[in-house]
């Protein structure tokens, strides 16, 4: 079940999706007609199942064919995994920023940090260590770099 928070600025619409993307999600009904630019904020999509992926691609492919400029921002780890697994998941759009997972070496806590994809490219995917917000310990990137950042090299 997904809720949409929508904001229009001129010819650009920003939608923030909140919830898991699965079989009940009707993108056309939720987002409505789009022309110009669509910015999709994916921060609050914790999970997407296979039928959700199918519906997602079906919807965004139509927008792509209509010439809508697609931008994906603040992509959650679940969305980044799909971007990596399926070459046409963003349907010709651009991925502006993603959440990167970290794990604390001390308290084992997990958290995420937001990075612009341009910055990640400049860093050559060497994500800096962060300070754990819970215990102050050292937090390191917690995934396989060549897999998590693989889409940036396509």
């Amino acid at each position: 079940m997904v809720n949409i928070i929508k904001e229009q600025k001129g010819n650009s619409i920003t939608v923030r999706m909140v919830g898991s993307v699965e079989e009940s999600v009707e993108f056309e009904q939720l987002i409505g007609p789009v022309t110009g630019e669509l910015v999709v904020n994916c921060k609050e999509i914790p999970r997407i199942n296979s039928v959700g992926v199918k519906g997602w691609i079906k919807y965004f492919q139509v927008l792509q064919q209509k010439g809508v400029k697609l931008k994906f921002v603040e992509c959650s780890t679940a969305i980044v995994e799909q971007i990596n697994l399926i070459s046409n998941f963003v349907c010709g759009g651009t991925v502006e920023s993603i959440y990167v997972p970290f794990s604390c070496m001390g308290c084992k806590g997990e958290f995420i940090g937001l990075f612009k994809t341009d910055d990640l490219r400049k860093l050559k995917f060497q994500v800096p260590e962060l300070k754990c917000s819970k215990c102050g310990g050292k937090a390191v990137f917690d995934d396989i770099p060549e897999e998590y950042f693989g889409f940036l090299e396509r």
Binding site: M1, E22, N49, S50, V53, K54, A78, S87, D142
Partner: protein
């Protein structure tokens, strides 16, 4: 290959089998020809290795001999599942083991329990594939849309068991996929036609009588096993293997409107670190079990040892 001998020794000990190691595929097949109850672990690192084995079977027993069931052949490979099409397309395919023993030196013992299950007349029930004494919980789904509640319940249970939140979400997604298959893909009519092939996965209907679907959940302190059970026994081995070994990192995923399913669920589960055990008796029952290890980090979780086992009974 390094690690194979230890893995095989542990697996044999845990399953109660005597281990014999031979260098040539033809020697192994000769043993199978005369001895009962053999299980083969075959080094299938390259297509040439596999072809040597297939030739030996062809020459000694024949590819479809009753002396050798594909259910009892386990191929060890360092390549990922999409890199070994020669195994996936083989008439002798039964089980695939991704050779990744570094992170867990006792992984052979874990796999030995899986191996032990395959020695039974029917490998149904996940309780024999987890540590002895592990409690198995059952969720009975009585309506199709109860799937989401079951998925959320599993996720919350895993978080309570101290699985990282991201791991719990990935495992919950795996449950979503195996339940969706049991609810919508398994039901067939008497002619084998799929009843809900083009039915929206958002449709609600009763799961009664032969349409009943159960979910079993077992956590043995190390591995969690989750099994979706249906009573149709309609799993198609070729379709299954094609779907699970397909990747879309290079080629585009094409949306098929003629079917309601997406055809990518199981592959993504396997890619995310899950292992699969499929047991299906034609017209009777299918059980699809997915296994995940609880790891300290997501990196380790994603890199964990994996296998794909198929047990078909006709």
């Amino acid at each position: 290959m390094p690690g194979d001998a230890q893995f095989a020794a542990q697996a044999a000990a845990a399953s109660g089998l005597a281990l014999r190691t031979v260098k040539r595929a033809s020697d192994a097949v000769k043993i199978v020809a005369v001895e009962e109850g053999c299980v083969l672990l075959v080094d299938a690192s390259t297509q040439a290795h596999y072809m040597e084995f297939e030739r030996a079977v062809q020459e000694t027993l024949g590819l479809f001999s009753s002396r050798l069931s594909a259910n009892h052949i386990h191929y060890l490979s360092s390549g990922d599942i999409y890199e070994v099409p020669y195994l996936i397309q083989s008439p002798l395919f039964g089980n695939y083991i991704h050779r990744n023993f570094e992170l867990d030196p006792n992984v052979g013992t874990y796999f030995g329990r899986i191996l032990g299950a395959t020695l039974e007349d029917r490998a149904f029930g996940c309780e024999r594939m987890v540590k002895p004494g592990t409690k198995v919980q059952t969720i009975q789904l009585r309506m199709a849309l109860q799937k989401q509640e079951a998925v959320e319940a599993v996720r919350n249970y895993l978080v309570a068991l101290k699985f990282q939140s991201r791991m719990a979400t990935v495992i919950a997604n795996a449950v979503d996929e195996i339940l969706m298959n049991a609810i919508f893909d398994a039901p067939v009519d008497s002619m084998g036609k799929h009843l809900y092939e083009s039915t929206s996965r958002a449709t609600n209907f009763a799961l009664e009588g032969p349409r009943a679907v159960d979910l079993h959940v077992a956590f043995d302190g190390e591995y969690v096993a989750l099994t979706a059970v249906d009573l149709f026994g309609s799993l198609d081995k070729n379709k299954l293997l094609t779907a699970i070994s397909k990747i879309y990192t290079e080629q585009e995923y094409r949306v098929r409107s003629s079917v309601a399913g997406a055809g990518i669920g199981l592959a993504s589960v396997f890619h995310s670190g899950g292992s699969f055990f499929f047991a299906s008796e034609s017209g009777v029952r299918t059980e699809v079990t997915v296994f995940f290890k609880r790891c300290d980090s997501y990196r380790e979780f994603k890199s964990q040892f994996r296998f794909l086992s198929t047990q078909f009974y006709f």
